[in-house]
Each structure stands twice: as structure tokens, then as C-alpha cells.
């Protein structure tokens, strides 16, 4: 696969995140247009509502784009997904006979405000990055007991809070919570002092299931991927998480990048999961390359200061593919719904600059990072802007995700004293 050419000239650069090979799906609005589905091509967005109204896209009896979310497309299933991608490719490809009709339907990304691209049905967050799990386990339980006994046998996950999911660009308010410092005998209600990011990929479930699905079936159910930052209050988490897992520590916000990069666009970048120490049980075994080779980076910019890249890694470090995670998620008969979002778990590589959280980068706050501005960080400070980046690199082209960013606002005054 090489770069496919579009009549939208900006899409034809080898490093542009949104070439014809990508065609990611988002929801945008402008001063003129209320929120609606759109497809990124170069620096532009193809307005899918108007494209459908104009008869340029017409694959179903009922309208797909009269709503400002992609769930209705998802629910149609893989055949429609494929036909839709083919049709959009035709419309914006170099030499397309549709150019004249389509050109007025393009909106510059610079004029668009992005919204959540889909209605999040439920959110599940996994813990499937082995370097991350080993790092965190070593800090909390020592190197010998770093990985829990189940970790190499199932993708450990917990249910998160769908209502916490926000689109990139949304500010994130530092949370209050109940904390207990080791030096105090009693807990206190305070703003979090160890507020952190987690670099993750999010897989979006496109079709429903109501019983156990195989890894192969799960792979076919996944509509696409986004970057995901699972903001985490480490001090709230430490006090609350035993015995039933993280709760308020993860409920403040979960940011995702605005463009759904489809599984189809990522097809050339499929790769194997890392080598395994123990065989998985049959129902979770890899049946082919279902992970993706996606370069990832994290940058941190203090307020009014330039950004420093604080981590760089790759999605291929994840130990269980989203297909394996989804298969495991369904084992109990748990019904899965279009719009379910599965966080991969924090992605860290084997070396220090590859760690996907400040908890790991600062080793629990003991080894502060020095930023290019000269400031140091253990955890996030008010005014910090955190940005995740992701891209798959093909032969002369790039499949980009757009950025996933958020700025930390100071905690409210005590929210109960008003």
C-alpha cells in the first residue's frame, strides 16, 4: 500500500495525518453548521449530512447522517462499513467524477469545533500493558510479586464510567476526593495531589453481541480506534481501590481523540502481540495479527511554556489485542453494545522514556522529570496541557489520529462549602 491520491491537495503529503488512505470519522460543528458527522480528508472535512442530503452517499433506505454521532453507521455492521468507506474513497479520490458536487461540502478543519464522534454506550478499561503492570506492581508490591497471578492468563479489566468520556480539547478539572496519606491515621477530603495521565488506545465496539464471541468474531466487531487518556488521581485510587477496584480516581474525565480511525484504515499495520510466557487458554489465543503498529507519544506543556515530549512508545507493546479483550469481556454472556469503548490499558515500553504515565515516569513521585522549560514534574500541575499523539507510518504516507489534548484546571474551592 502506498499513498492514495485525492483531489483535496492537502491530503497528498507523506506526513499528513489524513490522506485518502485514512478517512477517519468525526463529528464537527462550525458557526454555520450544527454538529454533524464528517470525514477528514487533508485539512478539510467532508460534511456527511449534506453529502447524504445531496444524494452523494446513499447506501441505506433510512438516513444514516441525520444524527450527530456515528452509532447508526456502526449498527449497520461490517458490510455497510466497507461499502461506505469505498464510496467515500470514490468521492474524494483524484479524478473523481463527484468532485464538483463534493467540493462545496468541504469545511476547513480550522473552522470546525470537534465533538464526541459517537455516543459512548459503556466504557471498559483494561490493564493489558505488561511493562505498565510490571512497573506499577513493582512499586506497590515489589518486583517478585509485580504481576498478579491472573495477569498472564486473562486481560484484566474493570468497568469505567461512560459519562466521564470527553473529546480532546475539553479542559479537565482537578478532582477532590477522599485521600489518606501514610503519615496520617485518618482520611481527609482534599484536591488530588497526584493527578496523572494514562496513554491508551480506545477500541470502539461497532456491533452488538449477547453471548460469548471468539477472538475472530471480536476482531470483526471493532469499528475503529481512538487515542485515549485515562486521567487518574493516584492518591484517591490508593485509598479506594481495595477490594473492588478504581472508582472515583478514574471518574473525573477520560479524553479521546476526535477522529475514529477505522479498522479498515489500519489494516496494513496489523502486527502480532508480544511473545508470551505462558500459553493462553484456547478461547483467548491469538488467531492472527490483531494488534497494530502505531507510534505513540505524550507531550506536556506547562501554562504558557513550550511542550516537552515526555514519552514515546508503540501500541504493539500491549499484551492482549482489543479483539482478545473483547472476547474475554463476552465470556460471561455480557451483552456488548455498539458504542462500547474499550481502553487498552496504559501503554509503556521497556525503557524509561517509553512509560505512558507520570506514575511510572517519576517512579511514584520519587524521580521528578525535568521539562525543557526547566521546570520539574512528578504529577500534573494546574495549567499543564497534556497531549497524546498517534500515527501509523506506511510507505510514503501516514495514518494519523489527530491529537488528544486536555488542560488541567485548578480544583474548585471546597465544593461542599458554598
Amino acid at each position: 500500500m502506498t499513498l492514495l491520491k485525492s483531489w483535496v491537495a492537502s491530503a497528498n503529503g507523506p506526513k499528513h495525518p489524513f490522506p485518502l488512505n485514512n478517512l477517519p470519522y468525526g463529528v464537527f460543528s462550525t458557526d454555520t453548521f450544527d454538529p454533524r458527522c464528517g470525514v477528514a480528508i487533508g485539512d478539510m472535512i467532508l460534511d456527511m449530512r449534506r453529502a447524504e442530503e445531496a444524494g452523494l452517499v446513499s447506501l441505506t433506505d433510512d438516513a444514516l447522517f441525520d444524527v450527530p454521532f456515528w452509532n447508526e453507521v456502526m449498527e449497520e455492521g461490517p458490510e455497510l462499513w466497507s461499502a461506505l468507506r469505498k464510496r467515500i474513497t470514490q468521492i474524494v479520490a483524484e479524478g473523481s467524477p463527484d468532485r464538483e458536487r463534493a467540493e462545496p461540502l468541504l469545511v476547513p478543519q480550522a473552522e470546525a469545533e470537534m465533538h464526541l464522534p459517537f455516543l459512548v454506550a459503556e466504557f471498559t478499561d483494561f490493564y493489558a500493558g505488561k511493562h505498565h503492570a510490571v512497573n506499577v506492581g513493582t512499586m506497590f508490591r515489589g518486583a517478585e510479586n509485580a504481576l498478579p497471578p491472573n495477569w498472564l492468563h486473562i486481560p484484566i479489566g474493570y468497568n469505567g464510567r461512560a459519562s466521564s468520556v470527553v473529546v480532546s480539547g475539553s479542559d479537565v478539572r482537578r478532582p477532590w476526593g477522599q485521600l489518606k496519606s501514610p503519615e496520617h491515621d485518618k482520611p481527609a477530603f482534599l484536591p488530588s495531589r497526584r493527578f496523572d495521565l494514562e496513554l491508551e488506545m480506545g477500541a470502539i465496539v461497532g456491533t452488538a453481541s449477547d453471548g460469548p464471541v471468539t477472538v475472530d468474531e471480536a476482531f470483526e466487531m471493532i469499528f475503529g480506534y481512538v487515542l485515549l487518556n485515562d486521567w487518574s488521581a493516584r492518591d484517591i485510587q490508593a485509598w479506594e481501590y481495595q477490594p473492588l477496584g478504581p472508582f472515583q480516581a478514574k471518574a473525573t474525565a477520560t479524553s479521546i481523540s476526535p477522529w475514529i480511525v477505522t479498522a479498515a484504515a489500519l489494516e496494513p499495520f496489523r502486527c502480532d502481540t508480544p511473545e508470551r510466557e505462558v500459553d493462553l487458554l484456547d478461547h483467548l489465543k491469538d488467531t492472527g495479527p490483531m494488534l497494530y503498529d502505531i507510534d505513540l507519544a505524550v507531550s506536556l506543556a506547562p501554562e504558557g511554556k513550550p511542550a516537552t515530549e515526555i514519552a514515546r512508545t508503540n501500541y504493539r507493546e500491549i499484551y492482549y489485542s482489543s479483539a482478545q479483550q473483547l472476547a474475554h469481556h463476552s465470556t460471561s454472556g455480557c451483552p456488548m453494545t455498539p458504542g462500547d469503548l474499550l481502553g487498552s490499558g496504559t501503554i509503556s515500553g521497556p525503557t524509561k522514556p517509553e512509560r505512558g504515565s507520570l506514575l511510572e515516569l517519576s517512579w511514584g513521585g520519587k524521580e521528578p522529570l525535568t521539562l525543557e522549560s526547566g521546570e520539574s514534574r512528578t504529577f500534573l500541575e494546574d495549567g499543564d496541557t497534556l497531549t497524546l499523539w498517534g500515527a501509523a507510518h506506511g510507505d510514503g504516507y501516514t495514518i494519523g489520529f489527530g491529537e488528544c489534548t486536555g488542560t488541567i484546571l485548578p480544583a474548585l474551592d471546597n465544593p461542599y462549602e458554598r
Copy 2:
């Protein structure tokens, strides 16, 4: 408060679960009518869709009852809730001038099939029954470490799976899952052998919030209550729950009773939470009686055999009211949504016959229960029908919940060998 009289004669018995004092909200269908909102009165259901169409109920500009769920009513907020209850009371009260118009809108409950009364936005399950937590903790960690250090300071909860929620009467399929018996070194994929119930109450969040709410505000946000059975696969849970909490063990099904008993109907039964060992932090402190005096019972009927009552307790055993749980849930800024369902946690009393799960009743399977049919049980067997009951007892009247029942179907053949 005493029994209020209705012209629906069956509603006037002192033990009938649905007198005029109750008026619980459900969704029903019949051979003639597709699913729609209804209000139980005695043995009948008032069809709210037709009542609205006939102009008998008309409190808003837009229709509230053109959809088969109560979420639109919830979203209107407490003033509308109060006006609606007042209007329905007028319609079905003894001597009502509306009797002639309303009588044709009644449907016998015997002819109705019940559906989920609301769209479940998200489901959170708490662990707020102290006797339950002490029993489980003692089994797993010994009596000295029974309660985790945080337990007396915050209502411990975890996010559950909204898609698992089903209405009473739905069969429950025994799940498969990854298990590891202490006598094996490796996990295996098997049907659960320790499938259990959990007796809980469910509180339904009626109005939205997007920042921390006080206990008083939380109390006002709760629309009503249902019985809730949080089916639990103990063997799956034991293997998966460290370090991030229960996941597939709780995802097969969560049954709720079909009638939402409103907070208004339960008003006369408000009571205090149990005495506390330690003071709560200010933002979680009780500000008045916000728990309810509701008698609860559990019965188990093996296939084709009579039922045995296996537990009897009261909602007042719960250590944190739903208002306290909801206030805690919001501390991080977690947005709450109409239709969020909060499970109270398993409700157990101090003595053995008051325990709300088989895990506790059979003390981890070591002390089998003997049923009236002569059979014994440690955990649930295929064909068992489990029923939860709940009622508040007033002066000559009863506020009933209807039953919350489910029958265990045998596990599928290996779902991955097909």
C-alpha cells in the same frame, strides 16, 4: 399515614402491595398493547400512554408517555414528579370524578408482560452492607482484617455493566468463565460452579449532575427504588478480582423488580443508617433519615419443587444510604445521568438467617443449606428459581415492590466449540 382508598377495589386490602399509597411505575405490554408506561393500582395497571392521549394527564407541553420508559419523566425533575403523583392519585382515588374516563384505561396485571421500567444509563454496585462485608472479609482475610481500612470512611463501590440489567422473570444462563481451583496450578475455562445471588436494593438516579453534590442534593436526585439481584459467579470473581475488582463475575445478569417504587411512596418509612464506629467526613455525614425500613426476603425453589425462604432481612441494615452513595459517587466530578442505577450492596443482617447471599448462608460452601424439599444447596443449581421480595409495612397498608425473580438455565455447551 393510613391506607388511602381507591375506586379500584383490589387496591384496598391492607396487605396488597399496590394500594393508592404506592402507585409504582412500570412498563408493560399485552397481546393488544405494545410496551408502554403504566402505574400499578391494586391488581390493575393504568395505561399512561392512553391516559395522556385522552388528556387525563397533561402536565407538560411535550408528551411524556409516547415512549416505553420512564426516563423522560425522570428528566423533568422533582416538581414534575410531585405533580404527576398528585394527579395520578386524584384519578384513581375513591370518589374521583375521573373514574369513568380512567376505568377503560386499566389493564389487568395478569394479562401484562413487564419490561425494564427505564433505560439504564450506567450501573454502579456498592458494597455498603456491613454484615455482608464482615462475613465476606472474614471468609477471605480472617476476622481481624475483615473490613478493609477504607470501609468505615467511604461507601466502596465499583462500576458494573448496565447492559447486564434485565427485568424480573428473565431467565439467567449459568456463565462460563476462567477459573482457577486452589488444587490446580493452571486456570481452566469452565461453567461457573459457584453461581450466587446478592440481595440488594437499587436506587434510580432521576436528575443529572455534573459536579460534586451534597448528601441532601443527592437525596433529591433519587427518583425511586427497585429490588436488585446482582447475580455473581464466585469462582470467576475469585480468580479475576485482583487488583481491579469484579468484572465478568458480575456481567452475566443483574435482575431488577419491574416496578419503580418512588421515593415519595417510601417517605413514611425513612429511617436512620446504623450506628457508626467512626465519624464520617463532613461531605458524607447523614443529614437526616435517608434510609428506608423495608422488609426483604429471598426464596429458592428447585425445579418443580416448592420454594423455601432462605433469608429475611431489612434494607435498614445498609451502612450508607443511597444518598450518601450518590454524593460519594459525584465527589470526583463524575457526571451522573438520569437512569443511573445504584446497587446498595448485598444486604445481610447480623444473624445467619438474615444473610443475603449463598456465599454467606453456606459460609463459602462449607455449610450447605437444607431446603424444605429435602435437597441441600451451597450455590445455585440449574433449574433453581430465586425470588427477592420487599415491602414496607405501614399502618394498615403495605408498600410492595413486586417480586424480583429469575430461573437458572444450564450453561451452554462450550460456547467456543461450535
